[in-house]
Symmetry: C2
Subunit: 147 residues, 2 copies
């Protein structure tokens, strides 16, 4: 999946653009896109402060829009790209959505789902570390600025 238009890196850049929008809106900069058959069908960024809702994560925003776009209660054949490792809630949502694949950038050692064994449905393909430095840097810059 490297060096072509529809690489993981290509779609992760689109997720990073969403994270940048979050940053500009003074939200923790996490972004996500949902891709179906090489087409971006939805985008989302962290919207917790704006919505005063601690669950308004980028992945949820993107998946909710994807359900709506497809008119389907499942996201089979879809890939969720997210700049940060999903939390337990978002991984649980991906399970329910029967999403095909999750691709993320930076690890989240504190709140990431992967510290809980067997939480993710084993049918969901998992790729991590895509554009990891860019995905980490935007978060690091945000928190340095906040201090």
């Amino acid at each position: 999946m490297k060096n072509n238009t529809f690489s993981h890196e290509f779609f992760m850049k689109k997720a990073l653009e969403q994270a940048e929008i979050a940053y500009l809106n003074d939200e923790v900069p996490v972004g996500a896109v949902v891709v179906c058959k090489n087409q971006i069908i939805s985008k989302g960024y962290n919207f917790v402060e704006h919505l005063t809702d601690a669950t308004a994560h980028a992945e949820i925003q993107a998946m909710t829009s994807a359900f709506s776009f497809l008119g389907s209660k499942y996201l089979n054949n879809c890939t969720l790209y997210t700049t940060l490792e999903p939390c337990v809630m978002c991984a649980g949502a991906a399970n329910l959505a029967r999403i095909d694949q999750i691709v993320y950038g930076a690890d989240d050692n504190k709140k990431g789902f992967s510290k809980h064994l067997k939480l993710l449905n084993p049918n969901i393909k998992l790729v991590s570390g895509i554009l990891i430095e860019d995905c980490r840097k935007i978060l690091k810059d945000f928190f340095i600025e906040k201090r």
Copy 2:
């Protein structure tokens, strides 16, 4: 908390009323309410089919409305009453919401969060089995009818 107006049973009956609305709408009958200082601040029922969104669980509907009602990104001092043991996504959402307590009726041995050890934040108080027979019965009746 028994035999008084604001017992767990009192609020679980309200959650069951939401499950009944789901049933009438041909949705898997699960209902939830969020209670803050003995006041019901939000209600929700399973809305998966209507929204074509596998994540539109009763608990999420109720918590999303509660954030909005309180204008707060956290649900401190709130209790989530739900007729069915929350799934991983909903338990993850309750963690993020910093909810004070979860009270549920029927167990969900298949999709309930409790099969994943240490998933729920240990600060969240947990009560189960409230009106368990009523909470089970509405689900059983629904699935018998569907067969």
